[in-house]
Symmetry: C2
Subunit: 182 residues, 2 copies
């Protein structure tokens, strides 16, 4: 490995390609993963109950009491998670009014929340394969228009189906190295 200390400025990308020559990520390098999109997403949906609340929204629940009953989750946590999901723009509040009752808030999903569907479908799919009861899954997902079973797939922009082994991870525009410790 040659390193030019003169006029040439060495970018993280240079170091990257130099060290691992275009294939993987070298574990010896001190990558800064604080801006990793996986970690950032988990900051929002990584707490207990959050994804299960979203599941219930997808399955049709919208009221505080519905979530509480089906999830068995403590009210204070449920309130905190719902507030957070609304703050993040994943859910939105509307009002509903049962005849003979005052109007109360309900929770509906936003487009930003809908964009979490592929991730959660991935969890569902893995659980269906490896952790289902002997008789099969508790819930089936199918295409509303044609009735066929729905799944998540990894594909490239050109439409090729991609195996997990065929995914190459390379540094993006916000890639950073951690400063060397002194």
């Amino acid at each position: 490995m040659k390193v030019n200390l003169g006029e040439v400025r060495i970018t993280p990308m240079d170091v990257w390609t130099e060290v691992h020559q275009g294939t993987g990520m070298d574990p010896r390098l001190d990558r800064d993963m604080s801006n990793c999109s996986i970690a950032r997403t988990l900051e929002v949906v990584g707490e207990k109950w959050t994804i299960l609340i979203l599941r219930e929204v997808w399955y049709g629940s919208s009221r505080f009491s519905d979530f509480e009953r089906v999830l068995g989750c403590p009210r204070n946590l449920l309130a905190a998670r719902l507030r957070m999901l609304v703050d993040e723009g994943i859910l939105a509040t509307e009002t509903y009014k049962e005849p003979g009752s005052r109007s109360r808030p309900k929770y509906v999903i936003t487009p930003k929340g809908m964009d979490l569907v592929p991730a959660v479908m991935g969890l569902l799919q893995w659980g269906d394969r490896y952790r289902a009861d002997p008789e099969g899954p508790a819930v089936l997902t199918r295409h509303r228009e044609c009735g066929a079973h729905v799944e998540v797939q990894v594909r490239c922009e050109r439409g090729h189906a991609v195996e997990a082994e065929g995914i190459e991870s390379v540094p993006g525009p916000a890639f950073r190295m951690r400063p060397a410790e002194s």
Copy 2:
């Protein structure tokens, strides 16, 4: 079923709820979701650090010290999570030997672990869209064979691309209702 096409705006939520009336997914019914595949998967990968450890395995790390350095995770937690992932068959241990050192364990991913890739790609994709730095993502994923950007897609068995709204969830073979409380 009454549909008011005049004043009332029909949302996807409304359609969703209508469709699930009486099919078991009605929010008023006491579904038993203890065998939900999403919840079951989260029992395995839902703890803090677990998915980030898997991310590092995909990026090429395999040694205890690599995980510790790049994640900044406490050693005792790291040891506990690695043990759990091995117990679950998501990682496996092998040995490596640096010249001049004794042989030590390393962690490699199994096919069962590889099957979590679509779920984690979904998290990555959402983070790239909604939580990336202004200049873009830290890591890009591309198809090793053609170089094109890789993404997760929801598709049905017949090959149709499916919108999140086009997914219908229906009770499967292991669907259960919760026994009525007495």
